[in-house]
Amino acid sequence: MVKLSVLQHAPSTHLPARPGDPTPTHRNLDPLAHPFARARERTRALNAAKMERMFAKPFVAALEGHVDAVEVMARRPDSVTDVASGSWDGEIIVHNLAQRKHLSKIPGAHNGKLSGLCWADENRILSCGVDRNIKMWDVRTSSQAENPEAGPSETKPLAVFPGKYSFSSIDHHRTDPLFATASSIVQVWDETKSAPVMDITFSTSAETVTGISFNASEPSVLASIGSDRTFTLYDVRTGKAERRLVMQMRSNDLSWSPTYPTVILLASEDHNLYTFDIRKLNSASQVYKAHVAAVTSCDWSPTGTEFVSGGWDRTVRIWKERQGTHPEVYHTKRMQRVLSTAFTADARFVLSGSDDGNVRVWKANASEKLGIVTARERAAIEYRETLKDRWKMDTQVGKVQRSRHIPKPVYKAGELKRTMLEAQRVKEERRRKHTRAGENKPKAERKKVVVAEQT
């Protein structure tokens, strides 16, 4: 007798049970059933990388209103959409990003350049300028959107704090009604008093302090940068400067990391950005190199994993934390020197204020799709992300992922900069080779930036 079995598929099990049902699918996980699985996956990864570059359209909107360069921007606490900006003609505008309109407009808030801007709370703005005044505004009363007839002379500040020197920066304490200002000295003010409550300038400091910022999680710690190439740490509780760092070149902007309270980011005049751990100030924890001119501003994303910087080279760059090269680079033909940058509170958008008087809104992730994303679309996007990450070491995929088009002047400047640095390096090497061994040791790039640490 013989045992026989011949393969037969019952068609009913492979067809949908009722009309409208999904067709049943079957899987065979045997690798032999999937020839060229690797090659096909690589093709998919390459396509995904190309698609990412194809859909990289980061520019969202330009918010007009200012007639001069936008010097500072500050986002409203507890708001995703609102951001205040101040310009060189002394005007303050509060923008709503979602509706792309002005919530309020304070023309002529200061005589001359408005140099510092911060939010005291939900509704009050503190601003300072070169006219030696600090002014506090209520954005609700100054709302021009509600009564457009109200002229610029109608808006009156809530309070005016007169100072002796022209101010360059201002920042408010996170919880207390205190704020600090930077001029040629560093002062701490109380909102209820018209004179500064303390002067915490570093004892030997003689030059202008250009930027100041309170730490968010240790709110009494204050950091400042100055035109004498220094970075200084203060404590409001002790009322004095704690530590000072002298660097090779001056910094233009500073920003505390929102997730690591000890980490601070400095935008330096030497085209680089540096992060410092304030517990260990003798070397930077990371150098970020890509700008081809001075970096004028920087701001962390609220997630703390990336940050944005704007430079004199007319580009905005978005960096991953701890990744010192290959940032995302944004540019437009009409965007001039970028003076201020900010991340929005949802970390999805980046703002840049530039010399041409526009505030521009960019996507933080250039190829992100705005609007409703369906579940299938989301799954496909995530699959493509995984593929790109998995195949990023492939020559072709990596090349597509890394390539960016940048304006010719920026490219040429980068080329020139590379040549100069290379020549410098070669000269250094030769000099080292012809001096006595061990006399002229190479210094780490991260330590090079620090000249002296003072207490």
Binding site: V2, L7, H9, H26, R27, L32, F36, R44
Partner: protein, 494 residues
């Protein structure tokens, strides 16, 4: 198919008995198609649902064999040598007397490929969208069916070629030639990747085993011999035997059953991969006598236990129990896919199309590490600051070499030689110090030769060592006539 007794043989079981035993759905696979118009050749789609047949006199038909739906039937009135489906049943290509023609599902002529002259055999590489043809002039040509470009054109220099097959796992084309050689081709090489003298006469059929990842190849020659080759190692056939009648066709099923059509009967034999020195045929699994000669093609239907044999009087489909892969993957090839799924899969495979220059003998080279460059940059003086981190650490003497050190120890354990080298190393280090020449002198003295001079020096050294030891002990506060004891270790240090 299994038999119970020792004396029973599976090959004695006839098709009628099999059809009687199996279910009605499976029995539909057994079919005799009586057609006139010369020896027929057949081809299945990748999912095994549709079948295309072509007779030498020009009769072409494509149909869904399971439901019996005819898609197209053409009388081309000229010699047609081969047929193949393209990506699915919606297009097929026919090798006609002068050129290759492409038809759509309904039999409408879409393209005439003028660059493929007098084609004899066609193969379609589904993942690369390439149509490979070989003709009487001996040119192997690859045409990209998605862009329409002629990708590559190789001159075989071996005359007319009537035997061609593809390896489904690496898309390499196998050609069998009139002088008995089998050559393996890829689009990016102008010469064969492998050239093999397989038979003493012309090669009449080549097949590659899909079940073992394309590892085995079977060839049949005019000399009446069937050979099985290992594609990783071409030194001699794995197994060879003389098939009755000669001039056979060979074909592999998805589960690794080899069928040989020679003379007037078909054999199917599983498990013939073992190396076998003799020339006796492997055990038979199934036979089926066919009186119509010549037998021109032999194809297993994917995902079914069906073997289709083309011969001069039409085609016969027979049942070969156990030959087909039972589990299909809907994402790759689904016999039950509907129109929408077919369209979607067509788009997906087009997006995943692999470039023709990625075809190589080893398909796994994609995504593996690049081989180390053979170019050496010796002599260039790389400055310290430009060295990679590990090199810099090595220069500074801070590199962690523990892994290499352990390797070195392993070597030492393996052979006496390594141990010796190790000792020499230690000796060399040891000599860095004071009294170098004296110690070397003592070492050089053979120990079993008593030389008064050496003895005196040794005694002197011993004495000096004792004195030094005593001085050290005195410095540590140990009393002079102290006898060392095991309890010393519990003493508090002074």
């Amino acid at each position: 198919m299994e038999v119970e007794g020792e004396m029973d043989k599976t090959w004695r079981i006839s098709q009628d008995e099999i059809v009687k035993e199996v279910g009605a759905e499976a029995a539909r696979g057994r079919r005799e198609m009586v057609l006139d118009g010369g020896p027929y050749r057949s081809r299945y789609t990748r999912n095994g649902r549709h079948m295309a047949i072509v007779g030498l006199k020009g009769h072409v038909a494509t149909f869904d064999w399971r439901t019996g739906t005819m898609h197209s039937e053409l009388q081309l009135q000229e010699t047609c040598r081969d047929i193949t489906f393209l990506q699915d049943h919606s297009h097929f290509a026919v090798a006609q007397s002068k050129y290759v023609f492409i038809y759509d599902r309904d039999g409408v002529e879409l393209h005439r490929l003028k660059s493929h002259v007098e084609p004899t055999r066609l193969e379609f590489l589904p993942f690369h969208w390439l149509l490979a043809t070989v003709g009487n002039a001996g040119y192997l040509k690859y045409q990209d069916t998605s862009t329409g470009q002629l990708v590559a054109e190789h001159r075989t220099k071996l005359g007319a070629c009537t035997t061609m097959t593809q390896n489904q796992h690496n898309a390499v084309i196998h050609l069998g030639h009139q002088n008995g050689t089998v050559t393996l081709w890829t689009p990016n090489l102008p010469h064969p990747a492998v050239r093999l003298l397989a038979h003493l006469g012309p090669v009449c059929s080549v097949a590659v085993d899909p079940s073992a990842g394309g590892r085995y190849m079977a060839t049949a020659g005019e000399d009446g011999i069937v050979k099985v080759w290992d594609c990783r190692n071409w030194k001699g056939a794995v197994r060879q035997w003389a098939a009755r009648g000669g001039n056979g066709e060979v074909g592999w099923s998805q589960r690794g059953y080899l069928s040989v059509a020679s003379g007037g009967s078909v054999y199917a034999r599983p498990s013939i991969h073992e190396t076998f020195p003799g020339t006796s045929p492997p055990p038979l699994y199934l036979t089926h006598p066919i009186p119509h000669r010549p037998l021109r093609s032999i194809r297993f239907c994917p995902y079914q236990d069906i073997l289709s044999i083309g011969h001069s009087a039409g085609l016969s489909n027979i049942l070969v129990p156990g030959s087909g892969e039972p589990n299909f993957d809907s994402a790759e090839a689904d016999p039950f896919e509907n129109k929408k799924a077919r369209r979607e899969r067509e788009v997906k495979t087009l997006l995943d199309k692999i470039q023709p220059d990625m075809i190589a003998l080893d398909p796994e080279f994609i995504g593996s590490l690049a081989p180390p460059s053979k170019l050496t940059t010796g002599g260039t003086d790389v400055p310290f600051a430009r060295l990679p981190r590990l090199e810099r650490l090595r220069v500074q003497g801070k590199a962690d070499e523990t892994e290499e050190a352990s390797d070195h120890e392993g070597d030492a354990a393996n052979g006496e030689n390594g141990k010796k080298a190790d000792r020499e190393e230690r000796e060399k280090r040891k000599m860095r110090g004071k009294g170098k020449s004296l110690k070397r002198y003592l070492r050089k003295q053979r120990k079993n030769v008593i030389d008064p001079k050496a003895v005196a020096i040794r005694a002197k050294l011993e004495k000096e060592r004792n004195e030094r030891k005593k001085a050290r002990e005195a410095a540590n506060g140990v009393p002079k006539d102290h006898k060392p004891s095991a309890l010393d270790r519990f003493k508090r240090p002074p």
